[in-house]
Amino acid sequence: MRRFLLRRVLSLIPTMLVIVTIAFVLVRVAPGGPFDSEKAIPPEVKADLEKKYGLDQSIPVQYLSFLKNAIRGDLGISMKYQGRTVNEIIADGFPATLAVGSFALIWALLIGISAGVIGAVRQNTAWDYGAMGFAMLGISIPSFVLGPLLVLVFALTFFWFPPAGWGTWRHLVLPGVALGTVYAAYVARLTRGGLLEIVRQDFVRTARAKGLSERIVIWRHVLKGGLLPVVSFLGPMIAALFTGSVVVEKIFATPGTGSYFVDSALNRDLTLTMGMVVFYSAFLLLANLAVDIAYGFLDPRVRHE
């Protein structure tokens, strides 16, 4: 186990390096720069600005100094916002993204697993069809439709939640639901499928034959194995939820990091774009690692030697 962990952690380094290198080259070769604007700025000022941020140097030199600083944890200064460091921008925005993402995650698991279990236990009944109908609906309605619908119903008709903004738990609910519902739907289908597969296994039949109650069979035996597909989905799901969504953050005016990735690339805020690449790729790789480890605990067939 320890050797497995060490190997996986070490293998993250070359993966990170490849991601960062490709991203670095791509953002530098993209046409247009951070200081191009609709109203022309004097050419000398532009040249001096580029010099200030080191853009006058060759790409390899810029790359090496970026790497050197990044290893020390310094992602540089934003080229767009006055005196803001990239570290500061991520630290300011990430809590909001994390909060919405966590809410969405809990929502997705709670609703998804419940619906999946209901569907599997009451297979081919009205319960099953209802739960899976909900799942199909959830998968088919994208967040950019669901978000405004939630605003219309819960904010502008019933006034239960604010239509947008940030600050209290009430601001968390609508974006969290808008973001999490699609995943709840996936989780429901995965749970139902996983459970149905396990239910037909011999050890379940044995458990039933031993006279265990249905409740204990489901909770203690079926669910543990039946949730494995959900666990493997957890990695990409956590990654997607915690990196935030441009769409949901714009609709609900959430001050998170979700929109920075897109916006900074459009603004050619090269330092912020690179900062987001480093931050997100590290996050994604670690999330996947965590899932792999969790797998080992849940499935006796998977042993990390």
């Binding site: 609709e38 219309l152 239509p163 005016a253």
Partner: protein
Amino acid sequence: MRRSLVALAAIAALSSACDRNDAWYGTTTPRHGANELWLNNGGEPEWFDPGKCSDAVGGVVINQAFEGLVVPDPASLVPTPGMAVKWETSADKRTWTFHLRENTKWSDGTPLTSADFAWSWARVLDPKTLAKYADQLYDIANGDAYHQRAIHVTAYNREASALADAMAAVAKVDKIKPDPLGKGGVFVFFAEPSDEIRTKAMAAAKALGATAAVTGPDALGLSTPDERTFVVTLEVPVPYFLIKINTQYTFYPAPKHVIQRLEASGKSSDLWTRPENFVSNGAFVLKEHRFRHYMIFEPNPHYWDRASITLDRVKLLEIESYVTALQMYKAGELDYIGENTSLPSEYSVFLRRKKDHRFTGFTTTYWYWFNTNDPALKDKRVRHALNLATDKQRIVDAVTKQFQIPASSYIQEGIAGYKKIPGETFDPEKARTLLAEAGYPGGKGLPPVTISYNTSETHKAIAEAIQEMWRKELGIDAQIRNEEWKVFLKNLEQGNFQVGRLGWTADYPDPYTFFSVFLSTSNNNHSDWKDRKFDELVDFANAAEDPEERLVRLAKAEEYLLDAMPAMPIYFYTRSYVVKPYVKGLRNNFQDRHPWKAIHIDPDAFAKGEVEDGNGGFVDMGK
């Protein structure tokens, strides 16, 4: 993202249908006390250091927190006393003397003197400051020499040609200009300056027995005879100078003492606009700032006109989505959508029927640049044919639907009294004749033409409409091409386009701001149409003694420009916005500037039927 907004708009439009009979959009009484204002600023400001800002979002913050020598009247925008109580100009209109108000202070109580203005203006021109709008201050004598690090040659006693030859031997010279302040000495500007060239040039000048140095701030036409007097000498007389310093925030002061304190403590001086360091001289000060979320402002206790401010707290949100901002307005979480939020076009017709909707002229013109170097477009008859074949009224009525005004010239009616030029309107018959005269009857033989625009639904719809008009009226099969914003800008700048959409927003409410774009020296002139005659016509106009005469001469210059047609005017912007019935003192104006110090909240305005219309009158509350 765009799809999401369309979906949101569709749903909202559906919901709007339910309350069609409601004459107001959402709440009509405030959700806060009478001393608060909640509004949106459309995003996070990039910079709100007055000298270094170049974005509209930062501009709003500066306009509320800082004050220049003069301040625009909330309705007419006419300059009124601000930090200066009175001012006079010399007979040659080149020297302006400003007399500062007694006892002016920064928000931390530090006295504000004429030296603060001199330092702030010199700071913008200091090449080390990297101010994007530094060239706005080139009106000040030797502003360009200081900013461009020209070589200042003094104590030179030999003939001018010897110096010129010596400089030309170093590198290509752009110009050699005598000191406009009459102190003797000349300034040498190189065409493509570098520090190496400057060193060589100084050595060459010294070899001729002169004294030479890189121009410093001492050469600027700024002086402070005493703490209350600020004297500005201009390079040449500038008729719109007062109007410019009135609304252009680059001329507002920055707190020298705070910036220098940060520098002395080894921190980045860019941090001075953080709430813990923030000091300003205008009506409001920044108290709290959450990045990409909101800003909180409170009145500046040391502001000279503190007594007239009724608001205790202003919450400025940073919501980027227009649709979201509008929903928040409807729910009463915004009192006013703010200067940087537009009404989504899907809503425009619906909102126009609401009584809290306002509508005013705005100083932006939307146009298509023609690349005059392009083989297809170098003949001005072709450019005129394209212009004549474009039905701008239809674009405004059927495509944009935001109640813009179709444009057949570049400058709209009424900016500083300017009279709009009639220009040529839709005339497909004449367009066909001109195209035939240019050698392309029925569009035959004309090299392919492509319209480029930056990715946006509106720009796309306009380009498609124009493509169809040109095809139908002229037989031209134009292509359209969308490009990502920064790529588009790069291509415009490098002349890598044929027909390119853009436009111009007045920096200050004087027609000259539009003329400056087309000058042969302008970096914003993407057509590459350079005409000395036009430059001279503009200079001649600005030299006019009488303001009326100046406008007449400027109109002549615009006629000349329209004849050359380096750009095809399409429409003049208008500004539509919504503001709650309880907000008073928010007046319509050409620049969409609304000082909070003039605003007060009257929670009962709706009940009393006293809702302002923004033009000095009241809204008809009829059923």
